[in-house]
Symmetry: C2
DNA sequence: CGGATGCTTGAAGCTGCTCAAGTGAAGTGG
DNA sequence: CCACTTCACTTGAGCAGCTTCAAGCATCCG
């Protein structure tokens, strides 16, 4: 896991994260980068995919439609993530990926045995690491899927906060780039349930919520809630 | 995905699957295989892991204990699966793996760049394929986690049936190697809820259940239930 | 045969979903 | 610059499914 240097914050409330670009592991080769604007698709499920992409800036959402046409949000992707990993195995994209804000992505080689994408490690190793990261993420989400609502949201907020910190942004004060609906589908909840969960956390003084602006007031309290066993969480939810 | 040849069934009701051995892609090198008996651990979460393993025979369960000491069943592993993939990335096992019956596993190289494990593909490709399969499995489970109980069980039964078929065993008549509790935790349900779900499927004439012996009576009906959108499934569950 | 283990069934309670209305913010046109 | 529309988030009420607690059975094994 790459630890990004802490640095001055700027562009905090903007829809994209211009501060990220200079933190990349190596300068961008403009020839193989692509700009994706808000609500634009980078990939479509079932469509051909030639190679994986490295997220350079912005945030993307990957999703797919199930048999009923219901949207299932699979993941949010931040700079440093490799997306479209299935390209090294097959020629068809598994899921659709759409930009939540202005994004910058860099094309990666289609051939796993290609030489160095970075100076540090082989491309093969990079792909394997990327896949392993995805396995970890999925496993974590699977664990979360059995937790009660408030615990789920608390855990996710802390994860997001940690991601902010790693990227050199304010960990306790940020703007969510996705709509409630997206976050709800990601967490496996109804939009209304998520909204109520936010309200409960706010009423307990754990977070301050203003639309998409989030401020974490009591990280320790959030952690206690997130890590708590289910009965205790239930008790809290009742009295909260 | 390897398609195993269809062949005569034998050893159907035995706790292990002796018929599998000769279907392996290449003869077993006895020097690096290991026998794991029922309830014996192959790996412990947090303990050192030197290399991945290839499941040769039997079925294993991977799980981990969450903060409360509650068991979370992550996956069941059948012959052909590669387990302990994290070994190519780190030296510590992510989760515990225990044998559900008498199992045979073969040690794989720790170094990704090792030469040929099989004639067909490079070891690197084999690892990448294994990881991709795991990503697909996890994604499928994540999708299932938002489905209602009966739909979840129906879907899983069909998956298991398909796995049986691929391995040359009877697809519509088999013995579950895991306890109800394990299957319930795997599906993210309470044991009682799973039991009731079995009863409902039985009452509808979709399956015949006798303890661990399962017979699929109406695969089409199961498929309709599994693929059905949620409202329709709810309606069915009410009248079922 | 008796004890143990695990599956099944029953009843009650609670969480989260659905349907529905209310509120607030952002953008448009007069 | 301000009404008006729109869209999304919030809040409310009712309902349904799942879990929990508890008891009843079946199967296995000493």
């Amino acid at each position: 896991m790459t630890i990004y240097p802490k640095s001055r914050i700027h562009g905090q409330s903007e829809p994209h994260f211009p501060g990220d670009r200079h933190r990349l592991r190596r300068p961008i080769d403009r020839s193989d980068t692509r700009l994706v604007r808000r609500d634009q698709h980078l990939l479509q499920a079932g469509a051909p995919i030639a190679h994986p992409w490295l997220v350079v800036a912005g945030m993307l959402k990957s999703y797919r439609l199930d048999a009923d046409g219901e949207e299932q949000v699979l993941d949010f992707h931040v700079p440093g993530d490799i997306i479209g990993l299935e390209a090294v195995v097959q020629a068809t994209a598994d899921h659709s990926i759409i930009a939540l804000d202005t994004c910058n992505v860099r094309a990666l080689p289609a051939d796993v045995s290609a030489v160095d994408a970075t100076e540090a490690e082989s491309y093969t190793q990079m792909i394997i690491d990327g896949m392993y990261q995805e396995i970890l993420r999925l496993t974590r989400r699977l664990n979360m899927s059995v937790e009660p609502t408030d615990q789920r949201l608390a855990g996710w907020l802390l994860e997001f906060s940690e991601a902010q910190r790693r990227r050199g942004l304010k960990p306790y004060e940020f703007r969510l780039p996705m709509r409630r609906r997206d976050l709800a589908l990601y967490l496996g909840l109804a939009t209304e349930t998520l909204s109520r969960a936010f309200t409960r956390l706010r009423n307990r003084g754990l977070v301050a919520v203003n639309n998409y602006e989030i401020r974490i007031l009591d990280a320790e309290g959030l952690g206690a809630l997130a890590g708590k066993d289910r009965e205790a969480a239930h008790a809290d939810q009742a009295k909260g």
